[in-house]
Symmetry: C2
Subunit: 229 residues, 2 copies
DNA sequence: CAGGAAGCTGAACACGTGTTTAACCTATTG
DNA sequence: CAATAGGTTAAACACGTGTTCAGCTTCCTG
């Protein structure tokens, strides 16, 4: 949410896609694309057609549609992991979405991730928890460095920030009608742009001028109100 | 997000539900319940069974499943509107979810709303835009009263806060596995509880200690950085 | 070269879905 | 009372879906 500002980040080239992949890989890629573009209710036949194979072959390779979905999940997760670890270490949270968006070939992955976050399931949970950890670590370092204010409950704050970042993006994405020709990268760019100013404002200047609400709540949960250092 | 603190609000009794409603109304209610509990992919047959009628009657009254869905949308929207206008005026944003949650008979409506926000569509857009307006008005009043900090772009800030509030709740709700026996009210309570402290913290104390990021961004969008009043 | 395994296909199958239809019941009305 | 309209049902229909299956091709291997 913060260093979305590093517009000058260095996008990593994806591994050269061999144009004649094994059929299994071609089906997998077609599935990711179709899932991203049409949602998870897309037909097995549609995926097969996109991959240029027969519907039977899809099930032959992946057992079932659910199996194909699992494979896609694993593939996307793996790709994200690689992209993250290969990138420069200095990135905050949610940046993995940005990174996906910045690499043209990964635009389908971005769509897949957004749809996963919208639909829920194990992958959404994994992505969320991962992001919570990232933010927590990031904030802890910032706290040490003195750039981040300390919190009475750093874990809760990290979860809240993760839910805000992922949730607001997903919400804006959901509110937009999502068709087969949706440009996920453009959408993400627009969403982050809209969010940038108010987020920075509130995060640096705050929103409330008085401490009454916070103090009242701290009192309510029987935690004596204390001066912020 | 703020005056979630008014634990002592006065829930409005819903209009006495006549136990033998017209079949059309019974189907509508059953549909809302089923949509909330099983999602919008629930079967027409399941709805009919829940209402104690034949599947044919459902279509006879509503034309199609889509028509039934529209009727439910309209009904829920209407109920929310009434609940809001009937309630005390002093409520901030997102509270309409809270209000639904506090009235036992409306727990299905709460689930319906959450599922709508998750799935998107016209109703989600309407709810979101409505909430943006509420927040904007609420913040404007606060700004006048001196309790809310002014913003360089109040509209953008309202949208961001709405996306955060609705998005984070929806996200937490999505991450939870949502089964037929999900207790939406309990879920909402838990989510708001988890969110309360960090939200109040950040909203009153801020998150960043330095202005560098904000100033850099303001400079980036060629808006001369200025001192906050 | 022979043979078998793997890749691959197209058609068929089984099933769940929304929807339609013809008939039945009920009650209001002329 | 008869008739007509609307509520209501059960069964059937049409269709899209995931999946299966028998057979075809291809290519590696002994």
């Amino acid at each position: 949410m913060f260093n979305l500002l590093n517009m000058s980040s260095t996008p990593k080239r994806p591994p050269d896609r061999d144009e004649d992949l094994t059929a299994r890989a071609r089906i997998r890629d077609a599935a990711v694309e179709c899932f991203a573009r049409h949602g998870f209710d897309v037909t097995v036949r549609a995926i097969a057609e996109r991959a240029g194979v027969s519907p039977g072959l899809v099930l032959h390779h992946f057992g079932s549609k659910a199996g194909l979905r699992e494979t896609c999940d694993e593939y996307v997760r793996q790709t994200i992991r690689e992209t993250k670890t290969e990138a420069v270490t200095a990135h905050g949270e949610q940046t993995f979405l940005q990174q996906l968006a910045e690499i043209d070939e990964y635009s389908d992955l971005l769509g897949y991730v957004l749809r996963s976050l919208q639909a829920g399931g194990p992958m959404a949970v994994a992505l969320f928890e991962h992001m919570v950890e990232d933010i927590e670590e990031y904030l802890a370092k910032g706290e040490e460095a003195g750039t981040i204010r300390p919190s009475r409950d750093p874990k809760a704050r990290a979860r809240w920030l993760a839910a805000n970042g992922l949730g607001s993006i997903t919400m804006l994405f959901t509110l937009q009608g999502l068709g087969p020709d949706t440009d996920f990268r453009e959408l993400l760019r627009r969403a982050t742009h809209d969010i940038m100013l108010p987020a920075l404002e509130v995060y640096t200047e705050g929103l409330l001028t008085e401490r009454t609400m916070l103090d009242a709540y701290l009192l309510y949960i029987s935690d004596p109100p204390e001066e912020p250092r």
